[in-house]
């Protein structure tokens, strides 16, 4: 624990004796003030203790609260207490500053040593200590997953597989029987919606009905698992977990560019049955995998796309407190990551140790370190691996030819001079002439494999040059690369307009001690100061973080006074097809110092300039042109140029972009006391949750260490990860998780109804190679899945909440499934997968800043709901009414509410009305006979045939009519029946 303050209490002070006068002063002047002004929040009688601080005892004041010692007896100016009452840092009491005379009393009291009567000196309320180990021993979820054997059951004929035995045994214990099997047609409707989110067609229903063998069910399950629609269904579940949206919300609802690439990635991943452990790795650290997974046909990097999930949250365009804004963004990232993968609420430990779970504040800030060490980018995912290989070959080629040529020149007596040993400038943040290799960071390859060093050779277009200074320089070899963003709606971010992707040099992260930052550059482009990871530069503030570099400019100055004490790094982006050289970045240098630095670098360069000149003369000296040496050298140069040229043709020039992570320099985070980004506590090294892995720092060689984090999350021994995902799958199929609180396995969550079953499924899942599809297959082919929704009356009276699972309650379809079903029935469904989203349809009730300029069509172009755009400030009223979550945090278990807006939509929404009409029209086209039409509508809409009574009602309603209006009305009526939106 970070602040073990209460252990200090016993020996906080040697409990001095005070004179009677002093004690009297305390009793008459000080204690009444404390009681009146402070006790309501800082005493044992406080309704709610604030900031962990007790002022009702001397030792409590000395021990202090969350922010450390409150008083130093004898030294008021050192005492936080005085700062607070003077409103210098904290402002206490919060309702208004005390009168000066009262402040003076406190000052005098502390100066005299804070006298307090001895007998009441040390009675600070004992506080229950946060004991992480005890908590992890007490709560089930921290215990290892076991492999329980399926229990014996009475009726051995009932179970169809092992999981059924766990369910039946639990029922038997209570003397309960499972409900009967549901009928086959209810089963096929369940399977279609649960696995693909779409209804079975009338033909499918009919043929399934006529083939009653178990084989037929197996076959349907396999077909559905293989269907491309499967991934669309299951990816939508996952999007709920990662608060998926395509805009950033806040004031102007700017784009999250190319967010849909992440959505498409997920759909492909589910369709390909990507092993879950790999899915974790790709989400946490897909950018760092040594062998990223490639798209089987298109050969692009799939793995890196997983990291996009980190950046699907809100973002703010002009935060006044930029560090607080970062801490809020990080909090959301940690919250989403930990709930999604671990089913625990780590974010509850942001301000204090978790109130209930074995998660400390130190745990929380150890995780934020991974985010401080990582960056956002739009990755050129289609070209990155291909061009990585090109970059490798380019380096080999350059190294080989360079070495040959230098050797040849040496033979001719031209040896490069020794580099200057002069120390780097004292204010230097980064000096590309003296940089460690692990500090050379870039997005892409254009800056080569490292900085140019003086005396080294490089190409400038078709010309070979000798470097005279240590600089990072982008290689013209890569000129012409193009990046494609699609689905753009609006983006005010100034950064989004710079050609950054695959063309950005990044300095290591540093702390700003002086706002005057100068960069020694040469060329054309931009320098960007990325302060506290803020990149959404689009408002009145933070414009100074972007600075253009004009040709001919040497020292580019930035005024970053606003950010002193903040962490930042710089990024250098060359203008399109232009050069940008970066040599040194300094902070706090005067003009004279800048001139001196430049002069020193110029002096250092002089011998190399001479060398370069000599090399140039030698190679162009006509008189020597026939000599063997020069001939050879020119021959080398020509071949080098040709081979470079040939290789250049292999560069994958064009690539789409996707949001993704980029590793930065390794950074550990401070604890923010009480979650306050302005108040720093101790630094916590990066590591995983201590309840799982202990609190030793992770050994990280360089970079963020996210890959190691991913491995610890994905470790089969991790007691959380696999239970959580297995439970999610169960929840989506059955309607209630074994742990009903799918995102919270902690103490405040609900306990598993079938703990052994959960471990059985988890163990099996891990042994099955973490295959989601196998798990689904196992569950849906169980007898448990097939239970009817008609509950046994006795079972209901004994177990009214169905905790032991004796029947399957009706499950209301999600908004997406309802809408997709309507499109499917009307024949409007366009099954085209992937790509930029269909724009959201904006009703007159959807107003506000950032409203998209283009209105989407009311039917979303017939695309499945997962392909309709999700704009944070313009969410679909249809989806909201049917409980599609607002994308702000992980939502593994949607609400299932019942609001008039749902019925009004089904009754009166013109979209629903139109689809109903087309469905009715189809019925007329498909059959001439009116009974057949009714049957077809029932088969396609409800996956069953109408009963006699239903037929009779239908007959009365449609009468002898063949009119579209009448059949449309009947179809609309069916859509409004409850069976349409419920699975039985």
């Amino acid at each position: 624990m970070a602040f073990a303050r209460f252990s200090d209490i016993a020996n906080a002070d040697d409990a001095p004796e005070f004179s009677r006068e002093k004690l009297e002063f305390f009793e008459k002047q000080v204690r009444p003030l404390l009681v009146e002004r402070c006790f309501s929040c800082h005493s044992r009688d406080a309704k709610r203790l604030e900031a962990g601080l007790y002022v009702d005892s001397r030792s409590g004041l000395i021990a202090g609260g969350d922010s450390g010692k409150a008083i130093f007896p004898g030294n008021p100016s050192e005492s936080l207490f005085m700062e607070a009452v003077r409103y210098e840092s904290y402002e206490m009491p919060p309702k208004g500053q005390l009168p000066d005379n009262e402040i003076a009393i406190f000052d005098r009291w502390i100066k005299m040593g804070a006298p307090w009567p001895k007998d009441s000196m040390d009675v600070a309320a004992p506080k229950r200590k946060f004991d992480l180990q005890a908590r992890s021993e007490e709560h089930w979820v921290w215990k290892p997953v076991e492999a329980p054997s399926p229990p014996p059951v009475v009726d051995r004929s009932w179970p169809r597989n092992d999981l059924d035995r766990f369910v039946l045994a639990r029922l038997n214990e209570q003397g309960l029987e499972p409900s009967a099997d549901s009928d086959r047609l209810a089963l096929i409707r369940r399977l279609y919606f649960d696995l693909t989110g779409l209804p079975p067609s009338a033909e499918v229903v009919s043929s399934f009905n006529s083939d009653s063998g178990q084989d037929a069910t197996d076959r349907v399950v396999d077909e559905l698992l293989d269907s491309p629609r499967f991934g669309e269904r299951w990816a939508r579940h996952w999007l709920d977990l990662v608060r998926y949206a395509e805009s950033r919300g806040h004031e102007f609802d700017d784009d999250i560019p190319n967010a849909y690439q992440y959505r498409d990635y997920l759909i492909r991943a589910f369709n390909a049955d990507l092993p879950y452990d790999q899915l974790i790795r790709e989400h946490i650290a897909g950018d760092l995998l040594e062998h990223p997974r490639m798209h089987p046909r298109k050969q692009y990097n799939e793995s890196v796309l997983g990291t996009g999930f980190w950046f699907l949250g809100e973002s703010v365009h002009s935060p006044v407190d930029i560090r607080k804004d970062e801490s809020d963004r990080f909090d959301n990232m940690i919250d989403v990551m930990s709930k999604t993968f671990l089913g625990v609420t780590v974010a509850c430990a942001r301000c204090h140790d978790h109130k209930f779970d074995a998660i400390s504040t130190a745990d929380y800030y150890s995780l934020t370190g991974f985010l401080h060490s990582s960056d956002y980018r739009q990755v050129r995912f289609e070209s990155i691996e291909h061009n990585r290989d090109i970059a490798r070959r380019l380096k080999e080629l350059d190294d080989a030819f360079g070495k040959k040529l230098i050797a040849g020149l040496s033979k001719a007596g031209l040896k490069p001079p020794k580099p200057s040993q002069a120390p780097a400038s004292c204010q230097s943040i980064v000096d590309y002439g003296r940089l460690g290799q692990d500090e050379f960071l870039q997005d892409g390859f254009v800056y080569g494999s490292g900085p140019l060093l003086p005396g080294g050779l490089y190409w400038d277009g078709a010309e070979l040059e000798v470097a005279t200074r240590g600089v990072a320089r982008n290689d013209s070899f890569w000129d012409g690369i193009k990046s494609i963003s699609e689905g753009k709606v609006q983006n005010n971010s100034k950064l989004s307009k710079l050609p950054k992707s695959g063309r950005t040099l990044r300095t290591p992260t540093f702390e700003l001690t002086n706002g005057n930052v100068a960069c020694l550059v040469n060329g054309e482009g931009h320098v960007v100061a990325c302060v506290d990871s803020h990149r959404h530069v689009a408002g009145p503030l933070h414009g100074e973080t972007i600075q253009a570099v004009q040709p001919g400019e040497r020292w580019v100055r930035m005024n970053l006074d606003r950010y002193i004490g903040h962490r930042l790094h710089l990024e250098f982006i060359p203008a399109s097809n232009k050069r940008l050289e970066v040599s040194v970045v300094v902070q706090g240098a005067t003009n004279a110092q800048l001139t001196a630095i430049l002069k020193q670098l110029d002096d250092d360069a002089k011998p190399f300039e001479k060398y370069a000149e000599a090399v140039g003369e030698l190679l162009s000296d006509e008189s020597q042109s026939k000599s063997e040496l020069v001939g050879n050298a020119q021959d080398i140069i020509d071949r080098w140029r040709r081979e470079r040229h040939a290789l250049q043709h292999e560069v994958k020039v064009t690539s789409r972009l996707a949001p993704a992570m980029l590793d930065g320099s390794g950074e550990d985070a401070h604890i923010y006391i009480r979650g306050n980004a302005g108040k720093h506590g101790e630094v916590i090294p990066r590591r995983f949750l201590s309840a799982v892995k202990g609190d030793r720092p992770m050994r990280i060689k360089s970079g963020s260490g996210r890959l190691q984090l991913a491995e610890q999350i994905a470790d089969p021994k991790n007691p959380l990860t696999y239970r959580v995902v297995v439970n999610r799958v169960w929840h989506y199929l059955m309607g209630r998780g074994i742990v009903p609180t799918t995102d919270d396995f902690g103490v405040l969550g609900q306990a598993p109804t079938h703990p052994l079953l959960l471990d059985h499924l988890t163990d099996r899942f891990i042994r099955d190679g973490c295959s989601i599809k196998k798990l689904i297959r196992y569950i849906v082919l169980s007898r448990t899945y097939r239970m009817s929704s008609i509950a046994d009356a006795e079972a209901l009276s004994i177990d009214p909440n169905n905790l032991s699972w004796h029947h399957r309650p009706p499950k209301r379809l999600e908004g997406e499934a309802i809408r997709d079903a309507l499109l499917s029935l009307s024949g409007r469904l366009d099954e085209t997968p992937f790509g930029p989203s269909a724009p959201i349809h904006l009703t007159p009730f959807m107003e506000g800043r950032g409203r998209p300029k283009t209105n989407g069509s009311p039917d979303g172009e017939g695309r499945r709901s997962i392909y309709v755009s999700v704009r944070r400030n313009f969410l679909s009223p249809f989806m909201l009414a049917f409980d599609t979550p607002v994308p702000f945090s992980t939502m593994g278990r949607r609400n299932v509410s019942n609001v008039p807006a749902q019925a009004l939509i089904l009754m009166n929404d013109p979209f629903v009305y139109g689809q109903a009409r087309d469905w009715g029209k189809r019925a007329i086209e498909i059959a001439d006979d009116r009974d057949d039409r009714v049957s077809w509508l029932y088969l396609s809409g409800l996956a069953r045939l109408p009963t006699g009574r239903e037929k009779a009602v239908a007959k009365v309603f449609v009468g002898e009519s063949d009119e579209v209006d009448r059949w449309a009305a009947f179809a609309h009526g069916l859509i409004n029946t409850k069976e349409f939106i419920f699975l039985k």
Binding site: R48, P94, G96, G249, H250, E251, F252, E314, P319, V320, D321, N332, K339, V344, T345, A347, C348, F356, G539, P540, L541, D743, D744, L748, S788, P809, P810, F845, R872, N873, F874, L875, A881, D883, V886, F888, S889, N895, S897, N898, V899, P900, A901, Q902, A903, L904, I905, M907, N908, D909, R949, E950, F957, H972, G973, L974, N976, T977, K978, F982
Partner: protein, 462 residues
Amino acid sequence: MLSRCSSGFGALAFSALGGGQAFPGTTRTDGDNTLHGPHHKVRAKNVIFLYMDGGPSQIDTFDPKPLLDKYNGKDPAKLFEVEPTQFNNNGTVLASPWRFKQHGESGLPVSSLFPHVATCADDLAVIRSLTSEFPEHTFANYFLHTGSGLQGRPSMGAWANYGLGSECQNLPGFVVLNGGLVPPGGLDCFGSGFLPASYQGSIFKPSGSGVANIRPNEASIKEQLEKLELVRQLDGFASEQFGEHDSIESAIRNHELAYSMQMAVPDLMSVSEEPAHIKNMYGMNEAYEPTRIYGTQCLIARRLIERGVRFVELTCPKVGGDRWDQHSNLKSGHENNARAVDQPIAGLLKDLKQRDMLKDTLVVWAGEFGRTPFAQGKNGRDHNQFGFTVWLAGGGVKAGTVYGATDEWGYKAIENRIEMHDLHATMLHLMGVDHERSTFRFSGRDMRLTDVHGHVIHDVIS
């Protein structure tokens, strides 16, 4: 169990058309949610929240600061410590262009921006010491509405209904009357967050059909009723398919509720039936269109609470320039915004009073923050979250009082400084809800509107 629904749409429609009730199609029942409220005496059954989008200036409305006249044009940094601002373009100390006068028996100072509201001075409890944590609109809007600066938390109207249930069976319990300006942060300012969707604010417009999907597509009501009768008959067979389940039955009742809402809304919206003198009170015949729009909103707000709707929020109408967000052109901008809302608000207060409804209706006038006493540029004011003014009126409120104070510049609250959470705690308290007991478990925590904060301001309660 399904027999409960046997009256069906036909019967509802009959009662809807049958007249005889005070409000056709409307029935009032007592709220039945006892777990989360009420916890004590209900002082305000309903809330009308007048949201002043953009942040009206406290020193130009209800918090006079004569010192600003004296130091007008001086550099504020030489006079007091200036905090970072949203636009970082601070000018000189800017005196208020409006004059303050004391009004009513209470002598409450109100500026000349609000001549009509000034006539209600004795009904107001003015809080001059509210603070926010955020100087950016969106954060501050979410904070004002949900108690958190981030998107996704339930709005106060959702919490009020969660705590007390709805007293109106055919209208939603939380209605947002959108005059034209949806605040930055969007409709999620009125969302239900992690609470069930039934607590969501429903967006009504003060014109046309009022609500989305309230107008049937069928050519006649008869045709729709016939269809709904078909649905009722088919749903009558549902138990054969599902067995008996509350979820199915509630969904069936939900359809009936939707239908009765469809029937109730046109009646709600027909403000033209109101007598001329009432419409005049609300400013509905004024020349200035935004005044007419806001007047209609205020009148519909009264009609909503008459029908038992628990929480009504009004957003501002468009006045051409900006919302109350005068980064420049303070004079004309504030004058237009005030002109739009002044007479309608006064009309609302007086109308509620004459109907004896003000005593159990809480009216709250608030923006997301205030404005700086120094200029932004030459003639604007930047955002100021350190001390600003809101007022309460009606149910349980100590009328004709001023609570709290800002410093001599009107910049920062120094006396009885309160937080947004305190305002929320007080509002809930007046509604009979203990803000610490009305909780909802989400994400491993017992969430509440006031997070882990909030103190009821007893000094503004009568």
